[in-house]
Amino acid sequence: MIDVVIEVRNFNAYYGDKKAVKDANLKIEKNKITAIMGPSGCGKSTLLRSINRINDLVPEFKTEGEILFHDRNIYDRETDVYSLRRRIGMVFQRPTPFPMSIFDNIAYGLKLIGMTEKREIKERVRWSLEKAALWEEVKDELDKSALKLSGGQQQRLCIARAIAIEPEVILFDEPTSALDPVSTQKIEGLIEELAEEFTIVIVTHNIGQAARISDYTLFMYQGEIVEQNETTKILRNPTHEVTQQYLSGKIG
């Protein structure tokens, strides 16, 4: 029996009158990597950003249907959206380090979860940087501004910041699209390792990336999930015509 962490049911999302996600249904399995793939504008980011309700910040954004996190609809009125976001972390397309020191970037999140003891904060900063494979590179300059790091390092810092508060799920929104190939490779390796402890959903329009790291793939087109399956199956045997066209490079 599979262990479902998140279940999306008959979910629709709108920006004003424009429907961005149409009747989405999917299950996300614990400790697996689920890739959401599709051409730009297909609604994949909208779907992802609905899972931690970060899109609530977008004016005119509306939803219908349900997204269940451990069987509770996160769009229920009584949901505490702040604690939801602590349990479902997110890493964005472009690295978003805060303009403060490397240490403070991570400590910021720790203070949010109520951690006040200095020793504990220090340990957790180190733990998360090690997990994000950044510790060796920055251990002597934790006071340095995070903005001085390279793009790839900044993105790993953002990953460290996300895992420091120990979420269950981490959402990645095209995390490598702004990075060079070497940094991309490091981050892909990292995401695979993280799947041992966290449940991961990653939006990508890079077929190779989905193939390399994901267990499941769902393919979206014009707001609809047209196909979802194990990644190996979907890449080898796409059943839907648009998926075939996308995989062969005819649309994208």
Partner: protein, 282 residues
């Protein structure tokens, strides 16, 4: 001419155009810099020869023909410091609130307020502080009027600084589970605090040279005593300058020049402080 030659010609053309516009821009910059420099030199240098110990420490005497401008310096320092102490914290807070909470109407009002001529603030201060609240012509009434005047300027600058922070950073903080106040006061504000201080001081620099509101609310032509409380009237540098030029002739010209250069020195000091905030600490 084959295709690649054609491309070369085209390229060198656009390179030349780039170089020409760069030179033009540079010349324009130098012309403006020279104008500003001339202004400074003509206003600052001639007055500096009257600087002396007495000029900075004595009150004017013998019908403005001797003595110094100490009471005016003191008055200006008191008024500037007091008005900034009031206006900077409030202005920063207002700017932050306007930027992070959806208050378009209030921002519209603030924008209009920052464009109102200073003499109107003087009249307003005269009516409200001096007469209605019974402060009469005093340091307090003047500082409050000045503070009111620079408050919208400060908050508009702070508003712009806050708006310049990318939305992505706010999202990243929210994604960690931060509440709005935790995003604003523990992430956004700390990360731009130096810029905020700089823009507030630059905006507040306007307060130093203001004459009109002070004539109406705080300044007197000649104070026999130094102020002994916030409710005393004072002399100030800009109003002193105004009175000297308006009511005295040649005999006080030296004092007007000296006062002008001290005023400019003041402005330079305040702006130096403002830009010192911006410098990264090592």
């Amino acid at each position: 001419m084959n295709e690649s030659d054609a491309r070369k010609v085209k390229n060198s053309d656009s390179v030349n155009r780039g170089r020409r516009s760069k030179i033009t821009l540079r010349v324009i910059t130098y012309i403006f810099a020279a104008l500003i420099l001339t202004l400074f030199l003509f206003a600052l240098i001639p007055g500096m020869r009257y600087w002396s110990w007495d000029f900075f420490t004595q009150a004017p005497s013998n019908g403005m023909t001797s003595g110094g401008i100490f009471p005016a310096i003191l008055g200006s320092v008191l008024l500037t410091v007091l008005s900034l102490v009031i206006a900077i914290p409030l202005g920063i807070l207002l700017g932050i609130v306007l930027s992070e909470y959806n208050l378009e109407y209030i921002r519209f009002v603030v924008t209009i307020l920052s464009g109102i001529p200073s003499v109107v603030y003087g009249l307003f201060g005269l009516g409200l502080f001096c007469i209605t609240l019974g402060m009469r012509t005093s340091i307090l009434a003047g500082a409050l009027s000045l503070a009111l005047m620079v408050l919208p300027v400060i908050s508009s600058s702070v508003y712009e600084t806050m708006r310049a922070i990318p939305m992505e950073l706010r999202e990243a903080a929210y994604a960690l589970g931060a509440r709005k106040s935790e995003v604003i006061f523990e992430m956004l504000v700390p990360s731009v605090r130096r810029s905020i201080l700089t823009v507030s001081f630059v905006a507040a620099g306007r307060a130093i040279g203001e004459t009109a509101p002070l004539i109406l609310t705080a300044a007197v032509f000649y104070a026999t005593n130094l102020p002994n409380s916030l409710l005393s009237p004072v002399m100030t540098l800009p109003t002193h300058l105004y009175f000297l030029s308006a009511s005295y002739g040649e005999s006080a010209r030296w004092m007007a020049q000296g006062t002008t250069s001290v005023l400019i020195l003041f402005v330079i000091i305040v702006y130096t402080i403002a830009f010192a905030f911006r410098r990264e600490k090592k």
